[in-house]
């Protein structure tokens, strides 16, 4: 909590109001306590108050019970990561208290449920402890049924008091969330909230107030990365999808299943991931780019059919919400270890496009770009997101939906003649006609996984294999030349360049800010277009003494992460090195800063 100015003491002289720019609040309990709900309320409230917000949560891979946390960072300025250290810990149990106290800033607040938590004397001096009998007060508030089910909402009331949150807006949110057939549910929620809000926090001397955020152009929407991605696909015109459930991908398929019928579309739950990709490819051939997706093991299952899409040059969207691997791995943890399978997975030379959104908002727009690239270059496109982006909630300016929603209904009007795999096509790009299209010449194409001639008929000709392989590769070269050169964040010359992709972007950018604030010459770039890579990187690298590729995967046998190895191979530049980790958590800013310092052996990184 970066307290920048002390406000005047409040009238009763008891609690003083402090203006703050941002706060990181970590809520720790068990998964059934509804702590995600409190986090969600805070995030949406921030969104409605034009504040930036980012959340971070872990849920246990088992469904019942088990520790769970939700961290929310609310700020009046840019919020790029979920925050390294918490200003406040709300702990429901002893295990939440003991397990998470380390994540609190020295001097930070520990708000604990005194019904379940006994503070440790050795920590009393280091953190400000505020005990509230949350469980029993909740039971008392809703009339003694003996159940503490509303304690999350009671706690929300406490937080609203401490952070001077807009009670009117929260009450409205409660109404939207709990207003329904059974009026007592909403009534109970409001009662719990009011009880928390009016609770006298004797031991807390200060309350806080967020500074006003800059007014942004447009209203904010608040959602997680999976939602943004799924809605982006809908905006892009995707109307068919097929999938098989697996965490964290399932949310996307559930959302599409629910939403697509409104747009005249369908999502099919298949018997497995192979059927899913096959069905999506069939629908794509039907004329409209379709989507499939998965996480972890499911992606492995899709690779044979992905190779077919590459060979047949079929537009297709494959979403990979990465999680810890290999195998069942760490199903609810974040990792960026699918870059290799995304770019290269499968047998044979099978070019495909890989895009990596860097945050929730980017998920929405990346989905649209992916569809347009798939159509334009007639190619499968993988969207590599990860568990971190998938589950975190961000607020962003509502897209101009009228402008971005597109109609990709296939044109079935007849053509005189057609050769899908025309070798003379500009930039080697294939054009498929959807079945249903009459071809006046009477010559119809076949889409195939065998090496083929221009009409798609099989060939064993080495010459054609050479030509067609080049065709499939060259169109990606063309795409590469259409890609924007990544913008350098910070000066384009300096000591150190950090290179990141996907969810690493936010903390990496904050790390650059940290370095810069200390006078260190560190900049960064984010690679959203992972395969093919954009041009202009050599030029960018030239401006720096060190290039560190920061990613969430293992350093591998040769000492580089997965993107690091690709960049080494492509640029043959020994100054490219890797900074990697696989602890299942998103990068903390401090981790990046410390690892970079260690990598240069404590040498000065000033300009």
């Amino acid at each position: 909590m970066s307290a920048v100015a002390e406000g005047p003491s409040s009238a009763d002289g008891q609690s003083r109001l402090t203006k703050i720019n941002e706060a990181v609040i970590r809520i720790a309990g068990n998964s059934q306590d509804g702590i995600q709900a409190i986090g969600g309320f805070l995030a949406r409230l921030a969104g409605r108050s034009e504040q930036e917000v980012m959340t971070f949560m872990t849920i246990p891979s088992t469904i019942s019970g088990g520790p769970s946390i939700f961290q929310v960072r609310i700020g009046s300025g840019d919020v790029l990561s979920a925050g390294d250290e918490a200003d406040m810990l709300l702990a429901f149990y002893q295990h939440s208290y003991e397990g998470h106290i380390n994540s609190v800033k020295l001097g930070g607040i520990v708000l604990y449920d005194s019904d379940h938590v006994t503070p440790k004397p050795e920590w009393l001096e280091r953190y400000r402890h505020v005990g509230v009998a949350i469980s029993s007060k909740t039971v008392e508030a809703i009339g003694g049924t003996g159940r503490d089910k509303g304690k999350n909402i009671f706690s929300l009331g406490l937080l609203a008091r401490i952070y001077d949150l807009d009670v009117e807006k929260i009450t409205k949110l409660l109404g939207e969330r709990f207003g329904g057939k059974d009026a007592t549910i909403l009534q109970n929620a409001v009662t719990c909230f009011n009880a928390g809000h009016s609770h006298q926090l004797q031991d807390l001397l200060k309350t806080y107030q967020f500074r006003h955020a800059e007014v942004r152009g447009g209203q904010q929407v608040v959602m997680n990365g999976n939602e943004a991605l799924a809605f982006g696909l809908i905006a892009a015109g995707v109307r068919f999808g097929a999938g098989y459930p697996i965490t964290p991908w399932s949310d996307i398929m559930e959302l599409l299943r629910r939403e697509l019928p409104k747009y005249g579309g369908t999502f099919v739950q298949c018997e497995d991931e192979i059927a899913s990709i096959s069905m999506a490819i069939g629908a794509s051939w039907g004329g409209r780019v379709a989507v499939t997706g998965s996480s972890g093991p499911g992606i492995s299952l899709k690779t044979e059919a992905l190779g077919w899409a590459s060979m047949a040059e079929m537009p297709l969207i494959i979403v990979d919400v990465q999680r810890g691997g290999p195998s069942t791995g760490m199903p609810t943890n974040v990792e960026q270890s699918d870059l290799n399978i995304a770019c290269f997975g499968g047998h044979g030379d099978s070019p495909r496009v890989v895009l990596a959104p860097s945050g929730v908002e980017d998920c929405f727009y990346t989905a649209i770009e992916a569809v347009n690239i798939a159509r334009k270059y007639s190619t499968p496109v993988l969207i590599l997101t990860d568990q971190g982006i998938a589950s975190r909630i961000e607020a962003f300016i509502e897209p101009d939906l009228r402008k971005v929603c597109q109609d990709i209904t296939p044109d079935l009007s007849p053509v005189p003649d057609h050769k899908p795999y025309d070798l003379t096509a500009p930039d080697g790009v294939t054009r498929h006609l959807a079945p249903g299209t009459r071809i006046a010449s009477g010559k119809y194409p076949v889409v195939t996984g065998l090496e083929h001639d221009e009409l798609g008929h099989p060939t064993g000709s080495p010459k054609l294999h050479v030509a067609m392989t080049a065709k499939r590769r060259n169109k990606l070269r063309k795409l590469a030349s259409d890609l924007p050169v990544p913008a350098v964040y910070g000066p384009s010359e300096g000591q150190i360049l950090l290179v990141g992709w996907g969810s690493t972007y936010g903390p990496m950018r904050e790390a650059v800010d940290t370095f810069r604030s200390l006078g260190d010459a560190v900049s960064c770039i984010n690679l959203k277009y992972v395969n093919p890579l954009p041009g202009g990187l050599d030029e960018i690298f030239k401006g720096f003494r060190h290039v560190f590729v920061v990613e969430l995967n293992d350093e591998g046998v040769y000492g580089y992460g997965q993107l690091g190895a690709v960049l080494r191979a492509r640029h043959c530049d020994p100054k490219i090195r890797g900074i990697t980790k696989v602890d299942g958590l998103t990068w903390k800013v401090k981790e990046i800063v410390d690892r970079v310092r260690a990598a240069v052996g404590g040498a000065p990184v000033k300009a």
Binding site: F240, K262, V268, W285, N372, E398, V415, D422, P458
Partner: protein, 319 residues
């Protein structure tokens, strides 16, 4: 952020040297049924005498007789000798990967109700690598016609045991004779929930055509088990069902009730060479229809709204 580097662009219809000049419309009433010449593409690569030839010839007949047009017919297959089918048909075709033709075809069927979807393949493709898909496509009752050209052997890979090879069949992978109990495709289909199950053999062309017509007219997943001899690796496999080779071709008994699942199952157990005809035909709503109903219900709630307005309503709840 909201700047799209790759915004929507209208795409050229065809690539390269091929022009995309407008083509005048052609009313169905002005069209003549397609001839064999018009509907055949590559010359089949099958061994001379392969049973698959007659299945192809009868598919052409079907297209001609039922006045289907090139552009409306989709021919989908996996991998195998039999699965090379799409190359030989002058129509939109897809030659997909081994065992996965059914989910591919499902994607076509569910997203393009205006097309005829025919799937051809072998016994390995259908019941070994694609076994799981067979069950699920059948139970979902996705509208398409599936013809398995069953030769009791792996033809393309040159004589390995197939899931329908009889016990004792000597193949390269069972040099002492196959040990594993073969699948009975008809029982498999019935148990999985297929709504149309028939059996025919390549040596009786009229019967093949009759079954194809009935299958195509069935609203749902229609399955035809077609014995199709591999003269190269399992010659004589079906002589017992061929009167010209001294065998007998028995039809499904007249009194058989095609809507009786148990009777169909029992009939499928008739001793070799069994009987031929429709074993089971009992329509129930297709997945195509069920999904269409859901869509209709949802569309009626947003009628009059453009897609972006529907999305806007969803976003309004996320503010």
């Amino acid at each position: 952020m909201s700047e799209l580097k790759f915004p929507f662009t209208p795409l050229p219809r065809t690539g390269g040297t091929v022009t995309s000049d407008p083509v005048p419309p052609l009313a169905d009433s002005d069209r003549k049924p397609l001839t064999k010449k018009e509907i055949s593409a590559d010359h089949p690569t099958w061994c001379p005498g392969c049973g698959d030839f007659s299945v192809l010839a009868l598919y052409f007949k079907l297209i001609e007789r039922r006045k289907m047009w090139h552009e409306k017919v989709t021919t989908v297959a996996g991998i195998g000798c039999s699965s090379r089918f799409p190359y030989f048909v002058q129509a939109h075709g897809a030659h997909f990967i081994h065992g996965r033709a059914l989910p591919f075809a499902s994607g076509v069927s569910l997203s393009r109700p205006d097309l005829h979807v025919f799937v051809f393949g072998g016994d390995g493709d259908a019941f070994s690598i694609g076994g799981n898909h067979f069950s699920h496509t059948a139970r979902k009752n996705i509208k398409m016609t599936y013809v398995v050209m069953d030769n009791f052997v792996y033809g393309l890979t040159k004589k390995q045991t197939s899931p329908t090879s009889p016990i004792g069949f000597k193949s390269k992978t069972d040099i002492w004779g196959s040990l594993d109990r073969p699948i009975n495709p008809l029982k498999q289909a019935i148990a999985a929930g297929a709504t149309f199950v028939a059996r025919t053999t390549h040596t009786n062309p009229n019967h093949v055509l009759e079954m194809m017509e009935a299958a195509m007219d069935h609203d749902g997943f229609s399955y035809i088990e077609c014995l199709s001899e591999c003269v190269e690796f399992y010659p004589g496999a079906f002589d017992a069902s061929n009167p010209r080779k001294g065998g007998k071709f028995d039809l499904v008994p007249k009194e058989h009730d095609v809507t009786d699942e148990y009777a169909a199952y029992r009939l499928a157990d008739t001793a070799w060479p069994g009987c031929f005809g429709i074993f089971y035909r009992n329509p129930r709503p297709t997945k195509n229809a069920n999904e269409a109903k859901i869509i209709e219900e949802h569309r009626s709630k947003v009628s009059g709204l453009a897609d972006w307005e529907i999305l806007q309503k969803s976003f309004a709840r996320m503010k």
